[in-house]
């Protein structure tokens, strides 16, 4: 299990990084936070491109950095596969030459997917003879993913790999990232400030702000908290629900089963049995104290008020709703809560429109285990 602790100060009065976190041995740990919060600096510290004033980095049982005992393994011997925002492919080498660069330098006893396997996984077989200058942004990023994976790393470090791409290119690369995550069987540290990437990829979430770790834990657990302004202060704040497709017939609403209930949706994520994670935004959930009748809303779920918490806006509150073992968040006005006399323990109905689910936020997530 990767273990990271870094302290660094740039200049005397400059930016201060002071963070520590762990990550699951397999799966995606997302470092999430606003621009300039130190996420990328953390990756540089792990990769060895930046030497922090104090710190300790342990990967796969190997101590890569321990300033207390004077250990600082050189970046070229750390075996941290890094994917940069700007791909950084070698312009004088072909795509194949780029892919083989790390493979040639990997230790002989290191195991991992082979050249052909990675090329097939990322769908870059037709690009092998090309030069990076002739590739699209999305293609470049896919080659960069392959190059990092083929260096047989202990960990994959991804520094906002989609941030430089437009929406169409992001949509092109994101499924490959999910496939790579499932194939790599490696810890992946993924830096982003885009919530849809968190929703699609993150198993474990580390929230960062001003160089510090604000909270860390399983992505779904953190999304269900309303006391983390980084998440709950957003307009798209809400829970992440792991679901399985129960029925998906053309022309009809799809039915998604989640622990404690079922959602009917206009999404068509795949055939029955497909596992996915949907973001259920708090602002899309309404609360009724009596069972509503004669209403267009398709999803009316029996729930219990678990907790009521203040939201960032003084006129709004978050209502935590227990639906079986699952938790939903509803963002409603303080006024409504008083009118309905909401209090913890009160049985209520949670209302969710079938058309509210965002296509972007619902991607097959075969990799995570609930």
């Amino acid at each position: 299990m990767p273990e990271v602790a870094l302290r660094h100060r740039f200049g005397r009065e400059g930016f201060r990084l002071d963070c520590a976190f762990g990550a699951p041995a397999v799966g995606v740990t997302t470092l999430f936070g606003p621009s300039g919060c130190g996420k990328s600096t953390v990756l540089s510290g792990i990769a060895g491109l930046l030497r922090p004033q104090e710190g300790r980095v342990v990967l796969d049982g190997a101590v890569l950095l321990d300033t207390a005992s004077g250990i600082c393994v050189a970046a070229e011997r750390r075996r941290c596969g890094m994917v940069f925002q700007d791909a950084r492919l070698f312009p004088h080498l072909s795509v194949a030459g780029n892919l083989r660069y790390g493979l040639r330098r990997a230790p002989r006893d290191a195991t991992g997917p082979g050249f052909d396997e990675v090329v097939a996984l990322l769908g870059i077989g037709h690009l092998l003879e090309r030069r990076p200058a002739g590739l699209s942004g999305g293609e470049r990023q896919r080659v960069a993913l392959g190059r990092a994976l083929l260096s047989r790393p202990r960990i994959l470090l991804m520094d906002e790999p989609l941030a430089a791409l437009d929406a169409a290119r992001r949509a092109e690369v994101l499924p490959f990232l999910a496939r790579l995550r499932d194939a790599a069987r490696l810890p992946i540290l993924y830096v982003t400030h885009a919530l849809d990437e968190v929703d699609a990829l993150a198993d474990h979430l580390v929230l960062m702000d001003h160089g510090r770790v604000v909270a860390e834990g399983p992505a779904e657990a953190l999304a269900a908290r309303s006391d983390l302004p980084l998440l709950s202060g957003r307009r798209d704040a809400g829970v992440l629900l792991p679901c399985t497709v129960r029925a998906a017939e053309p022309g009809a609403l799809a039915r998604l089963a989640f622990a404690g209930g079922e959602l009917r949706t206009t999404l068509h994520p795949g055939p029955p049995g497909t596992r996915l994670r949907v973001r259920l935004r708090a602002r899309d959930v309404a609360v009724a104290v009596e069972e509503p009748r004669g209403i267009s809303t398709s999803n009316i779920l029996a729930a219990t008020v678990a907790e009521i918490r203040a939201a960032g806006e003084p006129s709004e509150i978050f209502v935590h709703l227990a639906v079986g073992p699952s938790l939903l968040l509803a963002r409603i006005t303080r006024d409504s809560a008083e009118r309905l006399a909401l209090r913890p323990g009160l049985p209520v109905w949670a209302l969710v429109k079938a058309v509210t689910f965002d296509h972007r936020a619902a991607r097959p997530a075969a990799g995570w285990e609930a």
């Binding site: 990769a47 060895g48 491109l49 050189a74 970046a75 070229e76 011997r77 750390r78 075996r79 941290c80 596969g81 890094m82 940069f84 700007d86 950084r88 070698f90 312009p91 004088h92 660069y101 790390g102 330098r105 990997a106 030069r131 990076p132 200058a133 002739g134 190059r147 990092a148 260096s151 470090l157």
Partner: protein
Amino acid sequence: MQRRAGAASASRSPNDAPCVPGADAVSVGLAAEEWQAVRLSLEVASRSVLVSLLPAIAIAWVLARRRFPGRMLLDALVHLPLVVPPVVVGWALLMLFGVQGPIGAPLHAWFGVRLVFTTEGAALATAVMSFPLIVRAVRLGIEHVDPGLEAAARTLGAGPIDRFLTVTLPLMSPGILAGAVTAFAAGLGEFGAVITFASNIPGETQTLPLAIYSATQTPGGEAMAARLALISFVLAMAGLLLAEVIARRMHLLLGRGA
């Protein structure tokens, strides 16, 4: 052309060429001396580039990528030959590499190498004069190399020498090439430092510009001076055009577009 060919056949023994230029050069056959000067210029210029290329790459890399005390001093020192009169550079070389000099004396005593008044000496003087040109061009080439690519190579397991050879060097090669060709073209015409340090000996150190100078000092040498000047001009142009063509091809190879 015809005239020159005829003149060449007339001079059967180039060794008879007079040591004092201009004495009776007209009667001995100008073409032989002309070609000798051209050959010698090419030899001196290429040897000067060969000698200075590796140290120039090293110093350019240090200047571009390292921060250390005395960096500005080193930078100034490298550029000195651009601003100091060439004659002064020749004089300084004479002081250092003369058979009595602090470097020249041991060279002569231990290895029997004498640089003053030799072709090697002319190449050394030319190398020193063109050194700043190579360093500047190579440095520009290095500054074109994105350090991010070297960082990427590090994370892929490439050590310092490995990544220099496989990433930095290929990407800075247009700069190296530009520097080498410019230095070569400039080296063909180095005058002051060569004549001061290596003197003006036909067949040994009398390169094109020295031959032109000698011709202008000789009664009736105007035609020879004109022909040599034309050759100088053609060589320099050819060198610059060649550099441009190769640079374009290399940029294409490096995927940067022309």
